[in-house]
C-alpha cells in the first residue's frame, strides 16, 4: 500500500475529485443496502398476508428512487475515480516526456528505446490501474464490506452474521494466494510470449540468411517448440484462472448454506422472520465482491508499485550536461579553438580524442578526414555539448563554450549529423525544423543550395509531401540533402557537416560543394568526410587517426607530404574509377 502514499502528491492535487469520488462510491454502497431490506419487508408482509396497495406503491417507489439515485452516484464515482486515473497517466507521461527532453546522449546510449517506450506505456498503464481500479476496489471493499456487515449484524442478526461470515475470510486468503500464483505464472507466460516475439522478429529480419542456408526446417522446429512453450506456460496460468470462479462459488455456497440452515433454526425459534432471512441472503451476495476485491487489490497494488519505482527512477536520472550558473545568454562569435589533451567517453578506457590543438579562424572551412572511429564525430559532439570535456577547453571568440547557455551556443551552430534523421513531418517542416516560422523563400533557398529543390518539386505534393513511416520513403542521398538544407537554414555562423554527403553521387556532391563555397563565404564551416573530394577546397584539412591529428595542411600541402592523406587519395581515386568504370560506356 506504500504506492498510495507515494502517489499522495497526486491525490492531494486532485483532492476534490477524490473526496467527492469516494463519497459517491460510499453513497452507492449505501443505496445498495436498501433493495434487500425492502424485499425482506415484502416477504414478511406476504407471509403475514399484510400486503396493502399503499405498502406496495411505497416499497416500489422506494426501489425506483434507489435505482435513479444509484445510477447517478455510480456514474459520478466512476468518472471521478477512473477519470482521476486517466489524469494521472496523462500527467506521468507528460512528466516523463519532459524529462526525456532534458537528458543527454549518454542516457540514450545506456537505455534502449524499446525499454523507454515500455516504461512510458506499460508502467504508466500499471500505475494508472493502481490509481483507478486499485483505489476503487480498496475503498469499495472497505466501505461496502463494513456497511453490509454492519447492516446484517445490527438490522438483522449479529449471531447469524458471524456464522455466515465464517467461510469468507478464507476467500480473501485464497484469492490473494491465487493472485500471487497467477502473477508469477503470468510473468513467465509473458516472458515466453516475448521470446517468441523476439524469435519471429529475428527470423523475419534474417530471412535471407535463413533461406540461403536452407534453415527453414530448423527455424520451424524452433518456432513450433516456442509456440508450444507459450501454450504450456499459459495453461499453467489457466489452471489458476479456472479456479477463481469455482472457489468463489464454493465459499459463497457454504456461506449461503450456513446462513439458510442456521437462519432457519433462528426462524423456528422466532428470533428471525422469514423476510429477514431472505434479505440476509441477499446481503450475503453483496459481500462476495468486497472479499474478492481485497484479493485483487493486493496484486494490482504490487504491480503498480513496481512500475512506479521504475518510473521514479527514470525521473530521478539527472542530465550529465548541465549549464553553468552564470552562463551567458548572448550567442558566441569568433574563432573556434579546440584545446583537448584527452577526451574519454564515459566508461571507456581508450581516449576518443587526444592532443587536439586546433584553431579555426572565423569564416574558414576546416576539412576533417579519417577512418570510422578516428574521432571526427566526437569533435562535433563536444562542440554541441552532447558530452562535456573532462580536461581542456573549446572556445569561441576566446571565450569558453561552457560560459554560454546551451541555447545560446546551439543557436550559432547548424549541424547535419552522419545519420540524416528526419521526422514524420512534411519536407517543408523538416527543413524548417530549426525555425518553424521560416518563410518559403528561405526554405527554397536552402533546398536549392543542397541541390534537392528540383527533386522535391517532382514529388507528388512537393514541399508538402509527408515523409517518414507513414509517408514517402526517400533515398539515403535525398535524406542527407534535406538534412543539409535543414542545417543551412538561417545561415548559422558555424556549419558542421558530419559525413553528410556520403550517399550523394559525385556529380551532385561537387555541385553542392560549389554552392556551399559561395554561400558560406566568411562563415565558419566544418566538414568531416570519408571522401576526400568533400574537403579538397577547405582552407585547412586535418587527418585524424586514433583520436589524434596526424597530418594537417591544405589539400596541396597534404598531397605533397606523401603521407596518409595521399594514400587515401590515391586509393579513393582508383576505387571510384572502378566503381564508375562503366559510366563512360553505359550511356
Amino acid at each position: 500500500m506504500r504506492v498510495f502514499r507515494e502517489l499522495m502528491w497526486f491525490f492531494r492535487q486532485h483532492r476534490r475529485r477524490y473526496v467527492t469520488g469516494i463519497v459517491f462510491l460510499g453513497l452507492t454502497s449505501l443505496m445498495g443496502l436498501i433493495p434487500p431490506a425492502i424485499v425482506g419487508m415484502v416477504v414478511n408482509r406476504v407471509v403475514r398476508h399484510q400486503v396493502t396497495p399503499q405498502f406496495l406503491v411505497w416499497s416500489l417507489s422506494a426501489i425506483f428512487v434507489v435505482a435513479v439515485l444509484s445510477y447517478g452516484f455510480r456514474y459520478l464515482w466512476r468518472t471521478r475515480l477512473y477519470g482521476g486515473a486517466i489524469l494521472l497517466g496523462t500527467e506521468l507521461r507528460d512528466r516523463l516526456f519532459e524529462h526525456f527532453t532534458t537528458l543527454s546522449p549518454d542516457f540514450y546510449h545506456a537505455h534502449r528505446i524499446g525499454d523507454l517506450m515500455a516504461h512510458a506505456t506499460n508502467d504508466v498503464q500499471a500505475i494508472q490501474e493502481t490509481a483507478g481500479d486499485g483505489v476503487f476496489m480498496m475503498v469499495d471493499a472497505v466501505i461496502s464490506g463494513v456497511v453490509v456487515i454492519a447492516t446484517m449484524a445490527i438490522a438483522i442478526s449479529w449471531p447469524l452474521t458471524i456464522v455466515a461470515l465464517l467461510p469468507l475470510p478464507f476467500l480473501a486468503v485464497i484469492m490473494a494466494y491465487y493472485g500471487r500464483l497467477l502473477h508469477e505464472r503470468f510473468t513467465t507466460a509473458q516472458a515466453a510470449f516475448s521470446d517468441i516475439n523476439d524469435r519471429v522478429q529475428e527470423y523475419i529480419s534474417g530471412i535471407r540468411v535463413v533461406r540461403a542456408f536452407g534453415q527453414e526446417a530448423a527455424e520451424r522446429e524452433a518456432f513450433v517448440a516456442l509456440s508450444r512453450e507459450v501454450v504450456e506456460k499459459n495453461v499453467a496460468v489457466a489452471r489458476i484462472d479456472a479456479l477463481f470462479d469455482p472457489t468463489i462459488a464454493v465459499i459463497a455456497g457454504l456461506s449461503y448454506f450456513l446462513a439458510v440452515a442456521v437462519g432457519a433454526w433462528f426462524v423456528v425459534r422466532g428470533a428471525l422472520t422469514l423476510g429477514s432471512l431472505t434479505a440476509f441472503t441477499l446481503y450475503l451476495g453483496q459481500l462476495i465482491w468486497p472479499m474478492m476485491a481485497f484479493g485483487f487489490v493486493f496484486n494490482i497494488v504490487e504491480r503498480g508499485s513496481a512500475s512506479y519505482d521504475r518510473v521514479k527512477q527514470l525521473l530521478d536520472t539527472e542530465a550529465t550536461v548541465q549549464e553553468r550558473p552564470q552562463a551567458r545568454e548572448i550567442p558566441p562569435r569568433g574563432d573556434l579553438r579546440y584545446q583537448i589533451p584527452h577526451f574519454y567517453y564515459p566508461g571507456q578506457a581508450t581516449p576518443a580524442l587526444q592532443r587536439i590543438h586546433l584553431a579555426v579562424r572565423e569564416g574558414w572551412t576546416l576539412g576533417i578526414v579519417g577512418r570510422t572511429g578516428a574521432g571526427k564525430t566526437t569533435l562535433f559532439r563536444l562542440l554541441l555539448r552532447e558530452f562535456d570535456l573532462q580536461d581542456g577547453d573549446i572556445s569561441l571568440g576566446g571565450e569558453s563554450i561552457y560560459q554560454y547557455r546551451l541555447d545560446a551556443l546551439r543557436s550559432v551552430i547548424g549541424y547535419a549529423p552522419q545519420d540524416p534523421f528526419l521526422f514524420s513531418l512534411s519536407i517543408r517542416d523538416n527543413i524548417a525544423f530549426r525555425d518553424p516560422d521560416a518563410d518559403d523563400e528561405a526554405i527554397v533557398r536552402v533546398a536549392k543550395l543542397a541541390a534537392i529543390h528540383d527533386e522535391i518539386l517532382l514529388l507528388p505534393e512537393g514541399y508538402a509531401t509527408m515523409i517518414g513511416e507513414r509517408g514517402m520513403t526517400l533515398s539515403g542521398g535525398q535524406k542527407q540533402r534535406i538534412s543539409l538544407a535543414r542545417a543551412l537554414l538561417g545561415d548559422p555562423p558555424i556549419l558542421a557537416l558530419d559525413d553528410t554527403l556520403s550517399s550523394v553521387d559525385g556529380q551532385t556532391e561537387a555541385e553542392i560543394l560549389q554552392h556551399l563555397r559561395r554561400a558560406r563565404e566568411n562563415r565558419t564551416t566544418l566538414i568531416a568526410s570519408h571522401r576526400l573530394s568533400a574537403v579538397e577546397h577547405a582552407d585547412e584539412i586535418i587527418v585524424l587517426e586514433g583520436g589524434g591529428i596526424v597530418e594537417q595542411g591544405t589539400h596541396r600541402q597534404l598531397l605533397a607530404l606523401g603521407g596518409r592523406y595521399r594514400d587515401m587519395y590515391e586509393r579513393q581515386q582508383l576505387e571510384r574509377l572502378v566503381e564508375q568504370g562503366g559510366q563512360a560506356h553505359g550511356s
Binding site: 523475419i204 520451424r220 582508383l574
Partner: protein
Amino acid sequence: MALDSVGGDPSASGRVLVPRGTFWRLLRYLLPRWPRLIVALGALGAATAADVLQPIMVKIFLDRYLIPRHFPRGPLIALALGYVGLIGLTALFAAVQLLLFEVLALDVVQRLRVDLFDTIQRLPLAYFDRTPVGVLVSRVTNDTEAILEMFMSVLAAFIQNVALLMGVILAMLALDARLALVMLILFPVFGAIMWLYQRVSSPLFYLARHRLSLLNAKLNESLQGMALIQHMRQVVRWREDFHAINDAYRAVRYRNTQVNGVLLRPLTEVVYLLTLMAVLAYFGTHSLTAAVNIGVLYAFVSYLSRFFEPVNNILQRLNSYQQAMVSAARVFHILDDRGSRPMPVGADHPKIIAGEVRFEDVSFAYDGEHDVLRHVSFTVKSGQTVALVGHTGSGKSTAMNLLLRFYPLDRGRIIIDGHDLRTFDEEELRQKIALVLQEPFLFVGDVASNIRLGTKSLDEAAVHRAAHLVQLDRFLSQWPLGYRTPVGERGATLSTGQRQLISFARAMARDPVILVLDEATASVDTETEAAIQRALANMRQGRTTIIIAHRLSTIQDADIILVFHRGEVVERGTHQELLRRKGLYHAMYQLQSGERTATPPASV
C-alpha cells in the same frame, strides 16, 4: 495494393474492413478439436445445471419444511448433503469447463500461429521487401494474441453466460411459467443496450487506439531524434506537441469512461432494480387476492441477480471482440496470400559438383516493369573467382539474388553444372551454395551456434575447421568463452569485422561448391581487416566464388571482372585485360605512375 486496407496499420485510418464470415472462419479452427469441445460443453452444461439447482433446493426447504415447520431428520440431512454436494459438483464442473475452454483457445491460436509461420516460410522474398518487419511480427504475435483473448474471454464467456441464462430461464419457467415469460422481455432490452453501447463506444474505441498509436509514434520518434531536437533547440516546441497529443488521448479516454459510466454497469443495475420492482409488484398484487408461494418468490429474486451477471460480462467484452475481428481479418489476409517462393521444377534432382555457373541472357524486373538486369550473360568456370563491380543499383546484387533463387527468373536462364537452376532441389542448392551478406546477420546465441545454425549434422570439428580457415580462431582463442562467447541481438556485442568473420565461418562450415559474397564496405579496424583479407584468400581456394567487390585488392585478384552499369555488363575481362583496354587502363595507369590530377578524366 489491398495490403493497406487490412494489412496496414488500422490505427492510421482508425477503421479496418472486416470481411464477412471472419468470425465463422475463426470458429472453424475449433472443429478439429471437437472431442474436447464436446467434453467442455458437457462440463459446462453440468456446471450450469448444478448451479441453477441450488436456489431450487432452498425453495424446497423453505416451502416444504421451514414454513410448515415440519422437520423430519432424514430428509433434511439428505437435503443438506445434497446441497453441499451440489456446491462441490458445480465447482468441479465449472473448473473443468473453464480450463478446457482456455486450453482449447490456446491450442487454436497455436495452430493459427504455426499456419502463419508456414505461410511466411512460403512467401516470396518480394513480400518481405515491401512489408516492414514490425508489421509481420505483429501479425504472428500481437494479432494472434488478440484472437486468443477473444477465444478465451469473449467466446468462452459468451457460451458460459448463454448457458447460464438458459438454465436460469428454464428454472424460472419451471417455477412460474407466466412470470418467466414476462422476464423474456429483458432480452430485447439487453439487445438494445448492447446495440447502443456498440454504436456509441466503438468509434471512441477506435479513436482511442488511433490516438494512442499517434502518441507512441511521437514518443518513439522523439526518443530517436532527441539529440537533434536538443541541438536545434526545439525542446519546448516538441514538449508542446507531445502535450497536445497526450491531452487528445486523455480526452478520448475520459469520454470513454463517461460512456461506460452511462451505459455499462450503472445502466444494467438500473434495469436490475426495475425488474426487481416488477417481480415484487407481481407477487405483491397476487398476495392481495391469493396466497403466494414464498419459495418461488425467494427463488425468483435470487435468480434475478444471477441473470444480470452474464449480461454485464458480455457487455464488457464487446470491445475486445471487435479488436479480435480486426486482428483475425489481418491474419487471414496473410494466410490467403497466394504468392509463393520459387519451387523446384521437374524430377531430375541434379547435383552441384563442379560449380560452373552460367548466366544466359538474363533479364529481370522486381516489379515486372522496370528492368534492373538486361541481357546479362557470363560464365564462371569451376574454381574461378568473378568480381562484380559497379555502383549501387547497377544490378550486381540482383544477379546474386537470382543465382540464389531468391526470386523467380522471368527471362533467360541460369545454368549450374549444365542444369537449369530451376530444377535443383532446395536442399541441394542451399547445401552447395553459401552466401555471405555485406551486413552479416547474426542470431542470438553463441559463436558456435551462429556458425552451425540449425544444421545438426555439423559436428564440432567442422565448426572448428571453418573458424580456422577464416582465421576466426585467432580471436576466439583470446576470448575467455571461446566458441561459447554469447552473441547478443544482431551481434551488437561484436565489432563489424568480427561479425563478418563469423559469417564467413558459417559459410565455410558447409564446405560449399559455390561461394557468393557481398564484400563489406564498412571500414573495420586494421587488425580485422588484415584477417578478413587473408580469410577471403583462403575461402576462395578450390571453389567457384562470385563476389560483389569493393576493395581494389579483391578486384585485382579475380579471374574475371564484370563491370555492371544500369543492369548491363558493360566491360569484362581479367584485371590485366581491363587495364590493357583503353577504358579503365588509361586513368589507372596515370594514377599509378604518379601523375596525379585532382579531377578524374571525365571522357575516358
